[in-house]
Amino acid sequence: MLFTINDSSITSNSLASLLRIIPAGDPILFYEDGVYNAMPGARDAQNVIDAMVRNPIYALDADVEARGIKKIITGINVINYDGFVGLVENHEVIPWL
């Protein structure tokens, strides 16, 4: 299953909530305001880094560029819309709203 996150972990508990229950191996996609979770140095960055041991993490390039995010946590894959579609084709999508 592909789990998507579209808000910042400092404002919303959706990232923390997801990390409690996500099955090992399933991918996470950050999009819209969710891409703020890909920034190193942010309060919850270590939780994201720890999560990548079990779950691959992706961030949507259009949303990363829009928000002026220049540094991304090492290991997070920045993908474009084609990559997004590829993930959706291969996984059941669970928006973690």
């Binding site: 942010a42 829009a66 928000r67």
Partner: protein
């Protein structure tokens, strides 16, 4: 002179709040009011440098706020804790803002008395 704070608590692009805040500031700036733009929580993301929302078919909001100085909107206050917990520093922002602690933020709100929240 009338004093007002326009307070932003939401990130740009993910919702219309910060864009509407910008439109409001442009609208009231013509009345020669003493306008303070205060950014707290995800609102601090609005001033991050080098925003490029071209692929979202939107305009860069940070550049818009930088332009407000031309309309005599000169006071920008950023809540420091909000900025730092997001891994950001003063030089990540498009303009020189007053970066303040909780106590100072509280005092500024009290001094102005009137707040337009976004």
């Amino acid at each position: 002179m009338e004093k007002v704070i326009v307070m932003l608590r939401k990130a740009p692009y993910g919702s219309v709040y910060s864009a509407e805040a910008f439109r409001t500031i442009m609208g009231i700036a013509v009345f020669e009011m003493d306008i303070c733009v205060a950014l707290i929580d995800d609102g601090v993301y609005v001033l991050v440098k080098d925003q490029n929302p071209e692929k979202l078919d939107m305009k860069p909001l940070g550049d818009g706020f930088l332009m407000l100085k031309d309309f005599n909107v000169n006071r920008f206050v950023v809540h420091g804790e909000s900025l730092f917990e997001r891994g950001l520093q003063a030089d990540d922002l498009v303009l020189d803002a007053e970066i303040v602690d909780n106590e100072t933020f509280t005092k500024i709100i009290s001094d102005y008395g009137r707040v337009l929240p976004f």
